[in-house]
Amino acid sequence: MSQDETGISQLDLTELEETTLDHWLNTYRQMIKIRLFEEKTNELYTSAKMPGLAHLYIGEEAVAVGVCEALRQDDYITSTHRGHGHCLAKGAKLDKMFSELLGKVDGYCRGKGGSMHIADQDTGNLGANGIVGGSAGIATGAALSIKMRASDQVAVCFFGDGALGQGLFYESMNMAQLWNLPVIYVCENNLYGEYTPTEKSTSGNRLARAEAFGMDNVEISGQDVRLVYQTVKRLVERARAGEGPAFLLCHTYRFRGHHVGDIDRPYRSREEEEKWQTENDPLKILSDWLVSDKMVEPDLFSQIEEEVRAEVEVAVTFALDASFPDEMEVDAHVYA
């Protein structure tokens, strides 16, 4: 992997020669699944069918999919309030996701968690988290557990640039490096913590934070799924081989607001949004490359999109028809 003059790592296509076309088409399918899931989620909100709010992942799909494609099913992730993409990329099913968003008993958490708390241990998802940076310790503890059980799993902690303001994050990174734990901290720098630009909340160099702990660190564009996959594959191999934790800084952009109700977005310009959406759409970056370098017919992408759109429709219908939890459920599962 090479770096440009700013230190940001660049794509080295020779490293990806072995990756099959099927892999990339599946990657595309995963990304468009997240996008269409989120668009439908927005629709559920605007049509008043969804209780509460949701934080959409549209625009950041390459990070979750690139990371999770480099993981095994039994590897762990912890996720964030903007977590639908992570859950789906790790293998969550659309119908159970929608059901959870609607507070239905068929959801991943029987409707008790909702958008911000989806957990699915069958796919290694230890849970999204409503506390910014709140899962840094949990992912690190999962990595300690991996080491104590002499397993070769890996844990990934997804978090946003906003979590760089949380002390827990630094406590966790310190211990991960001290004890050489198999955990990868993936920072999704989408430029805004809620409504505040990252430069107003975060001083200094982001990568230097990991550097200070002596932790392996990489900075990449989070819009190119090939680069994310290539980078994480290497970091995962290192971690599995007992070579310790890593910090990955992914530059990305949330195409929508902080949450579904954030529609005016006075804190940023329409020009900025349009630039990211036209020049840095992760779906387009991948499909353009597949067309130009892998000779994929452009029609194939609309075909995949239509297939996924149909799956989303089936899933959302399932969720809308599903039952709410019985009232008896309210005090079940407080204790195991």
Binding site: R110, S145, E171, N174
Partner: protein, 332 residues
């Protein structure tokens, strides 16, 4: 009342260590992590020898990162381990509150019952050590307030060992709060294996005229007060809830139905605290049996001062209990 006369006399601290030793031998998933738990055996020297027995992989000295190690405990617990997280002073659990309250306590419920958090947080309480406001608080009411946590506050070596063993085997997060002034307190502990279920109170002294509900070290104050009351012809029953959650409401109510009077004594701050909760349980459950209002003695609602002359004013005392009991029994 627990009868366990056939055993060995050991200290409260030794009882805690024995429980950890036994459970770590029994289950290889149990480990302990905290500041100075390994080489130093904790600042209170309670865990000396644990490191030699189990090695640094299972007796882990951590950085001074209370939130971090509590989060690590949650992560290890949801992935198959049984961590014991050691928070040296109860005052420092404030640093770990998000991980205790928003993570450990809620994970099982938020996941619809799928994820489990079998972890123990062991920490300390208790004033009287001349340690001032940030090393003396008894914050067990905070933990007891949060659905998803269980809280044990043992008063004897026997209870400490049995409750700790149960806590380690629990599939829920359990906070064990040890009064640091009791580590050298001696008591009889059986030679054979035993555990004590959470949520079962223990009558430490049988009496007829008044119930003294007391927790942790306050049990010993209540027992001493009972002696003095006996000399005055007042027979006091001392009931130790042993766990503030689950709370053995029935045992508390049953005792007061018999005695018709109650004082609740706890070393946490009195306002919005354990004494208020238990007094309410008694008032509800034994209303028609009461001959006097249920009274409370908690810590004075001030930051705990350093100067001994002031500190001693802030925590419940034997004379406080005796005087209040005499008043309730109409003996002025």
């Amino acid at each position: 009342m627990s009868t366990h006369e056939n055993g060995r006399e050991i200290t409260f601290g030794e009882a805690i260590k024995e429980a950890l030793m036994e459970e770590m031998h029994r289950d290889s998933h149990v480990f302990i992590i905290g500041e100075d738990v390994a080489a130093a055996g904790t600042v209170f020297k309670v865990l000396t020898g644990l490191l030699d027995e189990f090695g640094p992989e299972r007796v882990i000295d951590s950085p001074i990162s209370e939130a971090g190690i509590t989060g690590i405990g949650v992560g290890a617990a949801v992935t198959g381990m049984r961590p014991v997280v050691d928070i040296m002073f109860g005052d420092f659990t404030t640093l770990a509150m998000d991980q205790m309250v928003n993570q450990a306590a809620k994970t099982h419920y938020m996941s619809g019952g799928k994820l489990r958090v079998p972890m123990v947080i062991r920490t300390t309480m208790g004033a009287g050590r001349r340690s001032a406001a940030q090393h003396s608080q008894s914050l067990h009411a905070w933990y007891s307030h949060v659905p998803g946590l269980k809280v044990a506050i043992p008063s004897t070596p026997y209870d400490a060992k049995g409750l700790m063993k149960t806590a380690i085997r629990e599939d829920n997060p359990v906070v064990i709060v040890e009064d640091k002034m009791m580590y050298s307190l001696k008591g009889i502990v059986p030679s054979e294996e035993y555990t004590i279920p959470l949520g079962v109170a223990d009558v430490k002294r049988v009496g007829e005229d008044i119930t003294l509900v007391a927790t942790s070290q306050m049990v010993h104050l209540a027992l001493e007060a009972s002696q003095k009351l006996a000399a005055l012809g007042i027979s006091a029953e001392v009931v130790d809830p042993r766990t503030t959650f689950p709370l053995d409401k029935q045992a508390l109510v049953n005792s007061v139905k018999k005695t018709s009077r109650a004082i609740v004594i706890d070393q946490g701050y009195q306002r919005y605290g354990v004494t208020g909760e238990i007094a309410s349980v008694i008032a509800d459950g034994a209303f028609y049996y009461l001959d006097a209002p249920v009274k409370r003695i908690g810590a004075m609602d001030v930051p705990i001062p350093f100067s001994p002359i002031l500190e001693d004013l802030t925590i419940p005392s034997v004379p406080d209990i005796v005087e209040m009991a005499k008043t309730l029994c109409g003996r002025y």
